[in-house]
Symmetry: C2
Subunit: 399 residues, 2 copies
């Protein structure tokens, strides 16, 4: 069953099933299979506590020379902090799927998201995998995007196409995540599918670059999880090879667009969030310092609560910049909120701008533009605000 | 008017006045004067945006060779992000006080706390300074601790004594602060008074060390302000010289106790806070890594909301440790909450401990003990929780 509205990358099939890991009757298993071995890449959490599926997927990518045919995702159980037993469990799930399909276990990349610390419920896996295998090709990628959700309030899917002289290639992405760690959940997963013929080394580089300019440039609460990963398959089914420098640049552009669309959806769905802050820092001494400055602003509880309260509180923004670790001269700093200059050359703009800013502060998306000087460093970070509902969602006892 | 319950350091006088900078009729000016020139030291915010009084106080300390006679504090106006005009205003307030007393302007260290960005209301200063000067010696240090409050809900004062062969010396401290930046306020101020005879270089070192082990080891929201400072005078009025290594060590011990008592009060008064978390990290590779780990836990919005929700959520604690930047082997990590082992050797303790932990989670102070390995690094951080009231206080429009 293909979706009429989404230009599907060729040569991929999808399946979902309801194993009942957390919510009975809800799809919580998803399988994506390429007809042929695909070039595969992954980007993984830098957290020192890495979940079993992260460790297994990394190992498979490195031993396969960057190839795989399938991605297997479950929601409801993170299989993190589960030791060697968790790794064995993860491998067992891959074997179960291999036995029920024409895949071999080492062609499948695993990903898990859900409660940390508990061992996988293998009995539920055994009961559900036959239905998963039998349903392959019977469902759309939207069902996959739904099955991988945890506290997400909507499925996240995005796509793009690239037309070359040799024909068209398609890129599709799916993601889940609502807090950097949702209540006890662990957390962001992104899947990227493409039907171009690409080289293995370039694919890894391109996936990492696209993730860096999208998923790594958003923040809900500054917390990162044990399970974050982006898994990406390019299967060549379009029979269009992308091997020129221009072609690669263009395909990377589409990948970035798809990933940025997904990242935007993650912030739209941020736990308790009511606003998206576009924090853009320019003129920093370096890219790294621009990132430090943007993250200090986007992660500051005081800045985030001010925006929730519709308060254009530049004082909190400059205080966050000042402690960010970025180096600059205070008198070179300017800040605009919603395009309105509120702070220039290290001092507040003289007039009382609250009336002028009021309509901007009521918007769902607000730009915060920071100039630190005349250096080359720039960075764009999407951030959510900090609200009563964030506290409510995250202070509730985990059940 | 001396306080019968507080052993006052000798040779200091106190005054307060109501200038009406923010709240009419509330004391918002405080002056502390030593009878004789005192050895003076300061510890200041590392924020790149430094308020005018911070810049002026630093300069006076460096040009005076570490001596001063008085400290002048106002609340209600931070005099931050006010440019050269703000520095001129600050100097003008010192001149006003000098004219009304026997002090010279360059013997007075200034500190300000309040709304960022606005210029000082010099007309109100001119009207209030005569009353301030006339009242010198008429009030107690408790009145000073009250006058420097902004969003604080109670005044913060602590004291200690040291008995030596040559006699007794006294240390007294006052502090204010409730969020690292209170709603638009800016923020922590600490005053330390001592009647020992001490050397100037040692005093600066000792004040910095005491601040490091107290005010720098607490966190409400990870934000630091443009005005944070600790100012310290030692006037020798006890005629007891502290010049032996043991004596210095003992006096430093009293200073640390006084500063830790004040720091504890700051966290007790944290904006919206309902609990104090004692995050102790041991076994890190270094002191710096222990601090990274403790701060990642103490600043994590997910950890802080979990404790507010009485949820002993070790998953969020280990996820914060994993992204902290501290290096460790996950299998060496253990976590105890309220003294109960919840995570050992990189895995959750098998039993369901929620029933056992429930009474601990209802307490106002909860210990979180983290072992990262067998390294020498250790760090203790006091942190507040993150609550609806924090959002309420900080999302309210500044007025």
């Amino acid at each position: 069953m293909t979706s009429p509205v989404i230009p599907l990358p060729k040569g991929f099939s999808f399946a979902t099933a309801a194993a009942g890991f957390k919510h009975p009757g809800r799809d919580d298993l998803a399988l994506v299979v390429s007809d042929v071995p695909a070039v595969a890449a992954g980007v993984f959490t830098k957290n020192l506590f890495q979940a079993a599926p992260v460790l297994v997927a990394k190992k498979r990518l490195s031993t396969s020379g960057g190839h795989a045919r399938a991605i297997l995702v479950n929601s409801g159980q993170a299989n993190a902090c589960t030791g060697q037993g968790g790794i064995d469990d993860c491998r067992e799930t891959l074997s179960l799927v291999a036995k029920a399909t024409d895949l071999s276990a080492d062609e499948i990349l695993p990903a898990s998201t859900g409660v940390i610390g508990a061992r996988l419920k293998l009995d539920k896996w055994k009961a559900a995998v036959p239905a998963l295998a039998a349903g392959l090709g019977q469902t759309s990628p939207v069902a996959v995007a739904k099955a991988i959700m945890t506290t997400d309030s909507f499925p996240k899917i995005a796509w793009g196409t690239l037309t070359t002289d040799a024909g068209e290639v398609r890129v599709m992405g799916m993601a889940k995540g609502a807090g950097m760690i949702a209540p006890n959940m662990a957390t962001m997963i992104g899947l990227l599918l493409c039907d171009a013929k690409v080289g293995s080394l370039w694919w890894q580089e391109a996936v990492a670059a696209a993730a860096d300019r999208s998923f790594n440039s958003i923040t809900v609460d500054g917390d990162t999880s044990t399970n974050d990963c982006v898994l990406a398959l390019a299967n060549g089914a379009s029979e269009v090879a992308i091997d020129s420098a221009e072609g690669r640049q263009a395909l990377l552009g589409v990948m970035v667009e798809v990933c940025q669309a997904l990242a935007y959806m993650l912030i739209q769905d941020a736990e308790g969030g009511t606003k998206i802050l576009r924090v853009k820092v320019q003129g920093a001494a370096s890219h790294a310092e621009a990132e430090l400055a943007a993250r200090a602003v986007g992660n500051s509880p005081l800045v985030k609560t001010a925006f929730f309260g519709r308060d254009a509180n530049w004082g909190r923004i400059v205080a966050a910049l000042g402690r960010s670790g970025a180096s600059f001269a205070p008198e070179d700093v300017s800040v605009r909120i919603g395009g309105v200059a509120v702070f220039q050359n290290g001092m507040p703009v003289a007039e009382d701008l609250d009336a002028l800013l009021a309509p901007h502060m009521r918007r769902g998306e607000i730009s915060v533009d920071v100039e630190l000087g005349d250096g080359p460093g720039r960075y764009l970070l999407l951030a959510s605000d900090l609200t009563y509902d964030y506290i409510k969602i995250n202070a509730d006892y985990r059940t």
